[in-house]
């Protein structure tokens, strides 16, 4: 068990170097001079530009730039972004916001997705099942940004149930609307996965045994059917968490959430290599840890799964 965890954590190193190198190179290869771009039509004195350029090592060849970045990273000094703000501080600001959003979205899709999926799966072909199937198909088919704008207009502007944007006051309440939008598409997938898995396991031998032993219906459903049906769902949710942490650029943009997605978007616009790669580094860690947790959950869900040997 411990060896398994260690082995998985060691895998972080090549993944980490590979992703940062790739991303850093892609930013490096972007055309245009990022420092000149900061100023647009009003160029400052050349000395200002040149000083900034050497401050951010932009006058160095790629390998030197990347090496210096890694060195700084391992000494826990992320440096400053192009506006002179410490990158570490801005990461500390954006990640909690996005984590909150991701957890909220994940909770929505997990709770409602699994609950609806179980009901649909238990009564396959019933009216609830058919309705939910069609509805989830619609949700999957509608792109997130359409859903975002519609929800924002209906609940934010017309009904006034929620503030249409998040802005400076990010808390569980204000993040609910974007979390619903963000969680809705995955909710449909979770529902469909759970439904398929549940309806398959309903006819498994151990379920018939449990029923024959005289166990109550809730006990059969929760402890025997559901628990065994969760493995594909948990895998999906684990992979999804990584996506939610880094990929909510569209949703964060629509609702003006000051999170990772927005920061990343701006950093890309400014070709800010160090900021982009710092964010990606954290995302790599989040992804690896989330998937490790998923793997550990497997054993709890299905005792037949072993980690060592």
């Amino acid at each position: 068990m411990i060896r398994f965890i260690l082995r998985r954590l060691l895998q972080v190193i090549p993944v980490f170097i590979g992703t940062t190198l790739l991303v850093y190179y892609m930013v490096f290869a972007l055309p245009g001079d990022p420092i000149a771009a900061l100023f647009g039509d009003r160029q400052p004195p050349q000395a200002v530009i040149d000083t900034l350029r050497s401050q951010y090592n932009l006058d160095q060849p790629f390998w030197v730039q990347y090496g210096l970045f890694l060195k700084n990273l391992f000494t826990f000094n992320l440096g400053n972004d192009f506006t002179g703000q410490p990158i570490a501080a801005s990461l500390a600001r954006v990640f909690p916001v996005t984590a909150m959003l991701a957890v909220e979205a994940l909770a929505i899709q997990a709770i409602f997705g699994v609950a609806f999926g179980v009901f649909a799966g238990l009564r396959r072909g019933g009216w609830f099942d058919s309705t939910v199937l069609v509805a989830s198909l619609v949700v999957i088919a509608v792109p997130t940004f359409v859903l975002g704008f519609v929800f924002q207009l209906v609940f934010g502007v017309q009904l006034g149930w929620a503030k249409p944007t998040v802005g400076a006051n990010a808390n569980w309440g204000t993040l609910l609307l974007p979390a619903v939008v963000l969680g809705l598409v995955s909710f449909a997938y979770v529902l469909r996965l759970t439904r398929a898995s549940v309806s398959e396991n309903m006819n498994a031998d151990y379920v018939r045994t449990a029923t024959a032993k005289g166990l109550s219906r809730p006990r059969v459903v929760l402890a025997h059917i559901l628990r065994n049906s969760l493995i594909p769902v948990v895998t999906y949710l684990g992979a999804n968490l990584g996506g939610l942490m880094g990929g909510a650029i569209v949703t964060e943009g629509i609702f003006n959430v000051p999170g990772v997605g927005n920061k990343l978007y701006q950093a890309v616009l400014r070709s800010e290599g160090p900021t982009i790669v710092s964010i990606v580094s954290v995302l790599v860690l989040v992804f690896v840890v989330a998937n490790l947790l998923v793997d550990l959950l497997y054993a709890w869900l299905d005792p037949r799964i072993r980690y060592d040997q």
């Binding site: 001079d33 400052p44 000395a47 501080a89 984590a99 924002q152 502007v157 503030k163 003006n256």
Partner: protein, 562 residues
């Protein structure tokens, strides 16, 4: 191995940790001041903005989002009223008999919000700081007219092994020789050469006074600036990065721009779309940036709650002189032909929904000294027959190289593609040549090519005035070697007229020279003037009235809340 109790605990800890980090910023979410109290002069209004790019030092701020904050935090020797007229603010008088030696009397008894007194010396120190090359202030070059600037702003240029030159600050003096505080209330300024409109620029942010703390540690100060303007920071740390800046009324301010509201909270948006939605639900009070799809609808969406006013900006289509198709006499005729082939009127109406009007000169009409009907300005009319004729004449002198289509370089964000397509179609239909947009994802890419003289075709160019003066729209853009003259246009005759204008005794005389200089531009057409812009703003139900200034910046201090 089975899933043991310890490993279960491990999992729970990890999940709890995730939840805890999530809670980190959650609890303290406060109301953003949008309470619905009626008729309150102390009400804090919320305004659209974005993260400033630099620490908030006036001489270092050269972009709009930092600029609007700085302009509210500080008061300079002069300020500009809504129409762009410069009026004395901290100056009691500004006088010069020869346009070269200036005497400025500073109002006494003025203080920064930290209690520090503002005297003539405050200004002298602040300006020397801003001009000094080692302080790396973006707007340092605004002091270039003052005698001794060259020493203070001196730099070293070294050529590296790869042939690139690197410029490093190497000031030869700390103080500009032409700038003196003779007593607490008097500043004397000697310019390197006479400049009639020099006093006009004294309202620009680079000339604001700085307290001594700013000069000692600019970076720390720039996070929590202390000024003397109509507003001040609400508290230390009012600038929440990537989120907002909160300003409150400065009760000690006694100038002409006194705040009619309790404060301004600038909320940061990375995109104007969500801001527009926020305005529709009164969740934001005012914006000066509309999403492009709202340009058609904002008047209906915000009836009686919108205003559109002309701003001092220029937009041109520049034609690089190094392009072989546009050289010599044939090139001159072709440049005219291109200008005649653009239907400015129709594009302004159809593409811009009337938020732009056809340009009439190389400077916008809102600027003092603007003149319509300058000799040669008839090229701004749409005349396809004449265009065709001129193009044919040029072909007789030197055939047009049509091997490649005529490209118009631009970044495609910000709604540029639509009008460039329209202009290119005009060239195609009226001149019978192939023309197309040369698209770039980012402004920086175009700028790089412009600087290194590598653009294959034409390029879009824009200029926003720093201070309301005719010279500011001509000198920095078209004079030989000027900072924003990327296409390196040069005409000694034009340069001379500018210089004569600067040396003129009166503003009227100066403006006459500048307008004469524009005649040269109309002959040479290094760029084709396109349109004058107007800036639409919309506001929420919480506000009774708002307007913009000469440069399109909202006059936040004049906003009254319901």
């Amino acid at each position: 191995m089975r899933f043991t109790r310890t490993s279960k605990a491990l999992g729970i800890v990890a999940i709890a940790a995730l939840a805890l980090t999530g809670c980190g910023t959650g609890g303290g979410g406060s109301n953003d001041g949008a309470s619905s109290a009626a008729g309150d002069p102390n009400k804090v209004i919320t305004a659209y903005s974005n993260e400033p790019q630099n620490p908030l030092l006036p001489a270092n701020t050269n972009e709009v989002y930092g600029g609007r904050v700085v302009n509210l935090l500080f008061e300079g020797l002069r300020s500009y009223d809504a129409n762009g007229k410069a009026v004395n603010a901290l100056a009691d008088s500004i006088e010069s008999s020869d346009a070269q030696n200036w005497t400025i009397k500073v109002k006494q008894g003025q203080k920064f919000t930290n209690g520090e007194a503002i005297t003539a010396k405050t200004f002298v120190d602040s300006w020397n700081f801003a001009a000094n090359s080692k302080n790396l202030q973006n707007n340092g070059f605004f002091f270039e007219s003052i005698a001794g600037y060259d020493d203070v702003s001196a730099v070293d240029s070294t050529k590296g092994a790869d042939g690139k030159t690197t410029t490093t600050p190497a000031p030869k003096a700390d103080k500009m020789s032409g700038l003196q505080a003779t007593d607490d209330s008097t500043i004397t300024v000697k310019l390197a050469q006479p400049e009639a409109d020099w006093s006009l620029r004294l309202g620009y942010s680079a000339f604001y006074p700085l307290p001594s703390a700013a000069l000692a540690d600019p970076k720390t100060y720039g996070e929590n600036p202390v000024g003397n303007g109509p507003y001040k920071f609400e508290k230390q740390g009012s600038w929440v990065h990537d989120q907002s800046i909160t300003l409150v009324k400065n009760p000690d301010y006694n100038g002409t721009r006194a705040a009619k509201n309790g404060g301004v909270t600038f909320k940061f948006y990375t995109d104007p779309g969500p801001a527009y939605t926020d305005l529709q639900s009164d969740n934001l009070d005012i914006t000066d940036v509309l999403p492009s799809n709202a340009l058609k609808t904002y008047v209906n969406d915000f009836p009686d709650r919108n205003a559109t006013k002309a701003v001092a900006t220029d937009s041109t289509l520049n034609i690089p002189g190094y392009n072989p198709n546009f050289q010599g006499e044939a090139g001159k005729l072709r440049r005219q032909a291109l200008s005649y082939a653009i239907n400015r009127e129709e594009i302004a109406k159809v593409v811009f929904n009337g938020t732009r009007t056809p340009a009439k000169a190389f400077a916008p009409p809102v600027i003092d000294g603007f003149k319509e009907g300058i000799k040669g300005s008839e090229v701004l009319n749409f005349d396809p027959a004449k265009a065709k004729d001129l193009w044919a004449q040029a072909d007789k002198i030197q055939p047009y190289d049509a091997s490649k289509p005529l490209q118009i370089a631009s970044n495609t964000d910000g709604g540029n593609k639509e009008w460039i397509d329209a202009v290119a179609n005009g060239f195609k239909n009226n001149l019978g040549i192939q023309a197309e947009i040369q698209p770039f994802a980012k402004f920086a890419e175009v700028l790089n090519l412009r600087k290194s003289q590598q653009l294959p075709g034409l390029t879009r160019a824009g200029w926003q005035g720093d201070y309301p003066s005719l010279y500011n729209f001509l000198g920095p853009v078209w004079a030989t070697g000027a900072s924003s003259n990327y296409e390196k246009y040069s005409n000694p005759e034009f340069d001379k007229l500018l210089k004569d204008g600067l040396a003129a005794k009166s503003t009227d005389e100066a403006n006459a020279k500048f307008n004469q200089a524009q005649e040269i531009l109309f002959q040479d057409l290094p760029g084709l003037p396109l349109w004058d812009q107007a800036r639409p703003i919309v506001w929420s139900n919480n506000i009774t009235k708002a307007e913009t200034g000469w440069n399109g910046e909202i006059l936040y201090y004049g906003i009254t809340a319901k």
